[in-house]
């Protein structure tokens, strides 16, 4: 397919507003301002665009949840937290085409009648926060943002708000808390952010890639967008492929291609001398897939049918050199570190999984460990926690326990520590910088 979201990759000086304009940039915004907010929302509804951040919720429908008669301000937030392991697509869009993101934000803000938008970007992305700030200044100078967008009378300010190191702030209510200057503790839903969001006002939170689709939908029409991909799984999608492929990176493909096509045709296949063992289809929080499942289609519904998730489109590819118990331990370390600590099943559960998996790797496994791991995972998922981080650690770990049962059993039977070289897991590094130094 012709590149849509990555069309600027490789174009000289692609970040400049003039480059963007010469590629037809900001035409979607012009058209949106003529259509009016409701027609813009209808177009996005008709396109069947689904959120690219992980949940795959229909974007247009999210916008319609904002109460129309709400008298005060409302807000749009662009989620650029990009913290799901295996995900690095939003950075790619911002790196090459920041104005596409800004145009998407402007159109979405106009559709929900918001006059202020925030871009919440992870703290580590200093370079990309600066790129966005520069693009905002350019867009403002050209009248695409500011008190009177393109002479329409509609006003919009966009501010970049940097996070400071917390996976949980990619969850939309934790992100909202973080913008409010608080710890990133997720909120109970309902009320949903569209009704009670940031500063208590109606708020829509959309992912960078979701918003980057919007200008194209408005400019070329819902039917064009829906013609890409498969029914209810429409449009182009960025797949972030990492791990043991020959050519890792971000590829843009229609939703519904198979994981085999992504891995073999677009990323050069598995590195020499090795074969595919397993892959995480949509970031590390999705249930793991085995090599036998590589022909599953990469779209929201096909992944759900196969018992996993498309998530953010972060495909982590593991070859036959990988010790799956080590991989599970590595992820358990991640989630134990990143649990915000509000809910016991997640805070304690992720920690217990980490301890048990580390103990198995250390040659001190017990026969009851697999069942214990599954029990902890059951207790942390399916509505037992305020936010989905409970599920996020439970799904990959329980799926590894189930799908790589024999490997786990043999690791438990081994009475000696695994050789360090075999471990794709690093030691727990204790205090963060600054603590007690």
């Amino acid at each position: 397919m012709e590149p849509v979201l990555l069309r600027a990759r490789g174009v000289p000086d692609s970040r400049a507003v003039d480059t963007y304009l010469s590629a037809g940039g900001y035409q979607g915004l012009r058209k949106a301002l003529l259509l009016g907010p409701d027609a813009v929302t209808k177009e996005v509804l008709d396109s069947d665009l689904r959120g690219r951040g992980g949940a795959g919720f229909p974007t247009g429908r999210k916008w319609t949840f904002v109460p129309k008669d709400h008298p005060g301000p409302r807000y749009l937030i662009c989620n650029a937290d990009e913290s799901e392991p295996g995900t690095f697509k939003d950075r790619e869009i911002i790196e090459h085409d920041p104005h596409m993101v800004l145009e998407g934000i402007a159109i979405a803000s106009y559709a929900i009648r918001a006059n202020t938008a925030y871009i919440y970007i992870r703290g580590e992305f200093v370079r990309w926060a600066r790129i966005l700030e520069q693009a905002i200044a350019e867009a403002r100078a050209r009248g695409f943002l500011g008190p009177d967008v393109l002479g329409s009378g509609y006003g919009l300010d966009i501010w970049v708000h940097r996070g400071a190191g917390a996976y949980i702030c990619g969850e939309e209510t934790a992100l909202i808390e973080s913008i409010e200057g608080k710890r990133g503790f997720p909120r109970l839903k309902p009320p949903f952010p569209a009704v009670v969001g940031v500063f208590g006002k109606p708020t829509v939170v959309n992912n960078v890639e979701t918003l980057a689709c919007v200008p194209h939908i408005i400019e070329r029409g819902a039917a064009w967008f829906a013609s890409i991909g498969r029914p209810k799984n429409t449009g182009p999608k960025l797949f972030c492929v990492s791990g043991h492929v020959r050519r890792p990176g971000v590829v843009e493909l229609p939703l519904g291609v198979t994981f085999r096509e992504i891995i073999e045709e677009h990323c050069g296949g598995i590195r020499d001398g090795h074969t595919l063992k397993a892959f995480f289809p949509g970031g590390s929080s999705a249930p793991v897939m085995t090599a036998a499942e590589v022909d599953v289609r990469a779209d929201f519904d096909a992944c759900a049918e196969a018992g996993t998730m498309l998530g953010s489109g972060g495909v982590i590819v593991l070859d036959d050199s990988v010790d799956m118990v080590g991989a599970a331990a590595n992820l358990a370390h991640f989630y134990a570190h990143e649990s915000c600590g509000q809910c016991t099943p997640c805070r304690e559960g992720s920690d217990w999984c980490m301890d048990i998996l580390d103990r198995i790797l250390d040659g001190r496994g017990r026969a009851e460990d697999p069942e214990t791991l599954l029990r902890i995972c059951r207790f942390a998922s399916q509505g037992m926690t305020i936010c989905p981080l409970g599920d996020a650690f439970a799904l990959p770990i329980s799926s590894i326990v189930k799908k790589f049962h024999e490997e786990l059993e043999s690791a438990i039977r081994r009475a000696a520590p695994r050789p360090q070289s075999k471990l794709p897991v690093l030691p727990w590094n204790g205090p963060r910088p600054g603590f007690g130094a």
């Binding site: 992820l331 590094n429 007690g436």
Partner: protein, 174 residues
């Protein structure tokens, strides 16, 4: 690319902090972006870390007073996030990504190599205050694993040789 070193203000100079006119002007600008004062907390902390190199208890008290919050509230936020330094960092903080994609593409080797070369463990600073090694969680650059972030800059697709060359360069400049 040349990574700017962190110049951490010594603790004794940060016991009692008064924001100068420049900082105060930037704080006022930040406050204008949000409908509440509290919302400026993260941006103001970033501003302070940029200026002083780290967030001392004195900085916490000054920020709390400026934003009308208690020091405990501000400290609670500072310590929730991993990127605010609560003691003076080294000039170059080497943040090695430990999460799965980097781990299976040589991240562990990078970390062990750094520990060996610098003679300190992850989490520690070298005696001369030049380098500090930190194991960090996913940096969001998995397609170019393994990745090390040095201060604000990403270094991707690293090999042991490129990491050594980077350290030589950073050490040579200081």
């Amino acid at each position: 690319m040349s990574t700017a070193p962190i110049a951490a203000t010594p603790p004794e100079q940060l016991q009692s902090v008064v924001f100068d006119a420049t900082l105060e002007g930037r704080i006022r600008e930040l406050l204008s972006r949000y409908p509440t004062t509290r919302a400026a907390l993260l941006p103001v902390l970033w501003l302070c870390q940029e200026r002083y190199g780290w967030i001392s208890p004195g900085v916490v008290r000054a920020v709390a007073e400026r934003l009308g919050e208690s020091p405990a509230t501000v400290d609670g936020v500072v310590t929730f996030y991993t990127m605010f330094y609560t003691s003076p960092p080294a000039r170059y903080v080497l943040q090695v990504c430990e999460t799965l994609s980097c781990a299976v593409c040589g991240g562990a080797e990078l970390l062990h190599h750094l520990e060996k070369r610098l003679g300190v463990k992850a989490g520690e600073k070298t005696a001369d205050g030049l380098f500090q090694i930190v194991g960090v969680q996913c940096l969001g650059a998995c397609g170019s694993a393994p990745v090390v972030q040095v201060n604000d800059d990403y270094y991707e697709n690293l090999t042991l040789e490129r990491l050594d060359a980077l350290l030589d360069e950073l050490a040579g400049r200081s």
